[in-house]
Amino acid sequence: MLRFIARRLLFLLFLLFGVALFVFILSHLVPSDPVAANLSQSALNNPEIVAAFKEKWGLDQSLFSQLLLYFQHLLTGDLGTSIRTGRPVFDDLMQFFPATLELSIVAMVIALVLGILFGTISAIFRNKAIDHIIRTVSISGVSIPSFWFALIMLNIFSSVLGITPGPGRIDTRTTTPEGGTGLLLLDSFISGNFQLFSDVAMHLILPGTVLGFFTMGLIARQTRSNLLEVLSMDYVRTARSKGLKESAIIVKHAISNAMIPVITVAGIGFCNLLGGMVLVENIFAWPGIGQYAYLSAVSLDFPAICGVSLLIAFIYVVINLLIDILYGVIDPRVRYE
């Protein structure tokens, strides 16, 4: 087990190095100069200001030494400073990431609960009307453009029907509490502020559903096909020959076996959720990593892009590690000694 984790961590290092290098090369291929992008018109006319700016950001050095410098800083855990926001990238990430994480987790819970439920019903009633309806819904999930879906849902549920609150993480007339984990649901729960807890939960429901819809589709689809496969397995026949009820067969024997590939899909889905925030955070005024990534990407803010990419690559590896460990928990055949 330790050996296994050690190997994964080694791979993580390689991965992070690769990601950083890739982003660095990419962002320096671009014919754009952060100087022009970040100084005002009048400031640009002042060589003194330009020189001071270049010196501050190390832009007066050669590309290679910029790269070296960047990696040196990376090794000490310094992700550099964002050119666009002028703040340390690490601080930026710490500020924006919890919002995204919280939303992703809620979306994931919604996706898992509904996806597994739908997939199971669909497999049990294979080729019945309910199966077709569920499949249509789950395929809609993976086919609907999230940005469009978000727009429409926000308009319908918030504006027209007024069921859900509007944009943001909390009621606009209150302010985000300081400190804690930044996961407001958790923080408010711990501090016992249930008014805030329900406010936060209400604000999470709509974006969580919109985001989770895609992953829900993936999971439902995967659950259905796995369950169908598992139900044709010999050990399900064995279970039947023991006299188990059909429902007990599904719950005790089929679902757990069908879940193994679903876990992988769920893991990929979670990573996609984090990366796919870009399209909907804007609409829900969600102060998360997606917005940050988008603004960094279009303004070619190299340290910030790299920071976001490293963070997501890191999570990718961690999620994969968790998935592997979860495999071990569920499936005794892949326990790592």
Binding site: I139, P145, V278
Partner: protein, 277 residues
Amino acid sequence: MRKFSSFISQKGFLFKLGLFICAFWIIVVIFAPLIATHSTTAQELSIRYQQPSFSHFFGTDELGRDVFSRVMYGSRISLSAGIITVIIAFSFGIFFGGIAGYKGGKVDEVMMRFSELIMAFPPLILAMVIAAALGPSIINSVIAMAIIWWPNYARLMRSLVISLKESEYVTASRVMGASHIRVLFLEILPNSFGPLLVMATLDLGNAILMFSGLSFLGLGTQPPTPEWGSMVSDGAKVIQNWWVSTFPGLAIFSISIGANFVGDGLRDFLDPKLQKE
């Protein structure tokens, strides 16, 4: 009600529906000039933001252009971008994955680590960076998406090659003295086509979605080219004029769901385990 449920529970209904949707859009792509009622670019500021009516089926947009005609013509851009992306990713992926799977060992290890590196990137952000770096255009978006997409094919191809290269008919071919190239291209490739095709079909929907996403963010096509994603983006600013974003959004949704229905149906058809009654 019973009739309805028996009708839709007929085997492969969703597959047929998917085929129908795809066929519909292909017809639209081909006959767009005949279907479109107006020019896609002609502006008429006096009729900005007109509601859908008989003269403008889907209403008009910010510059008084006919949304219906733009949606119809938009199918050309979206479909071709999606298809080209998938073709590039598909070709490169099976080439890469084929070699990795067939060679095995260190070569495989290195190649797969590389593909994992690409996969560890958040796809949309990577596409955004690439598209932003290369400058927004259809071709650059397609390149960006293909860069993100190929590892999926490579990994699938690799796993197929690994399982097929141990299959008995491949062994038979090798016993007969067939070269590696012959084995890879004539024995393994044709037999791995099924799952790859399913993946490609399902991916077509995804590619169209992502392309429209990039366009939505202003990284896809250049205006005034009618493209669905950027049309949704235009309409998103004025959601009260719902028709501007709703129709192109529905178009993306329908083509994507069509491709997914077809892909799902194909998978069911090709997967003997799911075929079993």
